[in-house]
């Protein structure tokens, strides 16, 4: 089907139309971006619908057959990622209008916004390792520029730190690709998978896997490599913080890890328990360390940044458990955390827009003056903690179910216990910013910002109530696509190509 290249071609084309449009009429740029994001959202829903009938669509770029040319391998997991990306991109574009209105050079912001979208979309649907690297770098380089967009000293420093760390990760990934290419003579994910299975689990196999895990751990900010995130995400404009924390680290870190581990290297908990225990360890370390560090933060967005590091640990925990419910829970958690953290960063942007400060000790009494923001924060926070009717609860529920079925009772207990830490740091914001009596000058959030927040609130509530449908149609198939393992290669080579 012809819709697959549109996922990245549309934002790419939009990114290069914007500089020309921005010279002619500045005011239409925002409308144009919102329109493109909305079309992407519709396309993503269509992609999910298509995935109900067939396991995979393979799109041959330029009609070159798989091992020779670049293919786009679009399966349920890709469809899921594309859907989550498009939700946050659409909400972010709504939020951006009034938030960005006091910045200069807005068209540059929107160009980068579309480029980062194109990069993330490309990573999610490509079936070629080098192509994945290129899209990953498109997204990463746009994000360095977006973090530095305010060009204050703090933002430039954060962006520099982020860039150095991010490029160490990116170049390690490139080195791993080079090693794989030298050994297997191919860059196609499916073809690499076939060759690796023929070679067996040699030391080379584990070295390359270790390098990739290291690279993706930096991109996803797991604990030993997390230090850039609490600087970089707060420094960016709020819609970008929301996009980076909500979905960017998951596409560049979690999606790539899961795809490579399950589908390319063909590992599962039965064949490589030690490796999956390492994943568990990384997840637990992130949850505990970053969660406890978040408790002592004095900055609204920095606290949320640490919270992201901690929450990403839950996703790794789910993948590390490795059975069906664990993996499905991890994928569900990607959705739940994207919505909740996207929303929380929107509320931070709304507060900063109204008061001009992010310091928790200077903010007080905003609960009455900014009621939409306050209630959005409460619902997003409750979803993050995991309160029953909201989507966050079901995500956590499936991870814990996976832990119990996999025989990790202690893991389930720790995961539930560490939710208390989440409650602790979110209460700190609630208490300081919204509940405490005080006289911080603030006006209501502008209309489009409130629309963006309410959009995410509605999604959190609706997807929570309709979790069974979400699980059956979106998350479950995505987990099956991952646990299909090396069947992935057969699908890529066997699928009907164009016009499925």
């Amino acid at each position: 089907m012809t819709f697959i290249p549109l996922y990245f071609a549309l934002p790419l084309a939009a990114a290069f139309i914007i500089p020309i449009l921005g010279k002619i009429a500045k005011s239409v740029v925002w409308i144009f971006v919102t329109l493109v994001s909305f079309v992407l959202f519709i396309l993503a829903l269509y992609g999910v619908a298509v995935m109900q009938q067939i396991p995979m669509v393979v799109y041959k770029m330029g009609n070159w057959p798989p091992p020779l040319g670049i293919v786009m391998a679009f399966d349920s997991f890709s469809a899921f990622m594309v859907l989550v990306i498009s939700i946050l991109v659409f909400a972010g574009s709504l939020f951006s209008w009034r938030y960005m209105s006091h910045y200069t050079g807005q068209w540059k912001y929107y160009t980068l916004y579309m480029l980062i979208t194109a990069g993330m979309m490309g990573v999610s649907i490509t079936g070629d390792l080098f192509n994945m690297f290129v899209f990953l770098e498109i997204a990463a380089i746009s994000s360095y520029a977006l973090v530095a967009f305010g060009v204050d000293a703090e933002e430039l420093e954060a962006s520099f730190k982020y860039m150095v760390m991010g490029e160490i990760g990116g170049l390690t990934f490139l080195l791993a690709i080079a090693l794989l290419y030298a050994k297997t003579s191919t860059l196609n994910l499916a073809d690499i998978s076939n060759t690796l299975q023929a070679m067996g689990q040699t030391p080379f196999f584990w070295t390359v896997l270790g390098m990739m895990l290291f690279a993706f751990s930096i991109k996803a900010a797991f604990v030993p490599f997390h230090s850039w995130l609490p600087d970089a995400h707060p420094a960016a404009p709020a819609p970008i913080s929301s996009l980076l924390s909500g979905i960017f680290i998951k596409v560049l870190g979690m999606y790539t890890t899961a795809r490579i581990v399950f589908n390319v290297f063909g590992l599962s908990r039965d064949t490589a328990p030690a490796f999956f225990n390492v994943l568990l360890g990384i997840g637990l370390l992130s949850i505990a360390f970053a969660g406890i560090t978040a408790l002592s933060q004095r900055d609204y967005k920095r606290l949320l940044g640490y919270s992201s590091v901690s929450q990403v640990g839950y996703i790794m925990l789910g993948f590390g458990i490795g059975n069906y419910y664990g993996v499905a829970g991890a994928i569900f958690y990607i959705l739940a955390h994207a919505l909740a953290k996207g929303l929380l960063f929107f509320t931070s942007g709304s507060v900063v827009n109204a008061t001009g400060t992010r310091d928790l000790s200077k903010l007080a009494g905003l609960g009455e003056r900014m009621s939409t923001t306050a209630w959005s924060f409460r619902i997003g926070g409750l979803s993050l903690i995991g309160l029953p009717p909201l989507v966050g609860f079901f995500a956590k529920y499936f991870i814990i179910l996976g832990a119990l079925k996999g025989g990790f009772l202690w893991l389930a207990i720790i995961a539930i216990g560490l939710s208390v830490v989440t409650l602790g740091y979110l209460l700190k914001i609630e208490n300081n910013v919204f509940m405490k009596k005080g006289r911080t000058e603030a006006s209501k959030a502008p209309f489009t910002m409130r629309i963006a927040m309410v959009f995410l609130v509605v999604l959190i509530v609706l997807l929570g109530i309709g979790f069974q449908q979400v699980f059956d149609f979106v998350v479950g198939p995505a987990a099956h696509a991952l646990l299909r393992g090396i069947e992935y290669a057969n699908l890529v080579f066997g699928s009907v190509a164009v016009g499925f």
Binding site: T2, I4, P5, A9, L12, A13, A15, F16, I17, P19, I20, K23, Y59, K60, M61, G62, N63, V498, G499
Partner: protein
Amino acid sequence: MKGMSLIVKTITNVMIGFIFIYGVYIILHGHLTPGGGFAGGVIIAGALVLRVLAYGSEAGAEKRSETRASIFESIGALLFVGIAIAGLMLAGVFFRNFLPKGVPLNLLSGGIIPFCNIAISFKVGAGLFSIFLSLAAVKYVMKD
């Protein structure tokens, strides 16, 4: 900024056209000989950089050339995406060749590849030139 001496300016005047034509040659023969859109684009950017080096430029003029360069850069990228989407529209697959392949080693052969080269040369030429301008502008500000 007045630029360099009369000798440099005169020689630049003579050379700049040749450099430009050499760049165009490299781009148009990209599918036949070594080189292509990237290499040719770099050469064209070199010609533009040479002009700024020899003649110097005012702060305002620099701003204007930067605007023009960024427009050309966008046009290059749009052309490239446009070729890919034209493949989707006309031949049914993203990036598929939709032009006749022609006789090998003729100038008009290779389907869409020469056009891709032209698009890349726009992007690279204008992109490198605007990078040069930004770096030069930074230096100018820091001197003050």
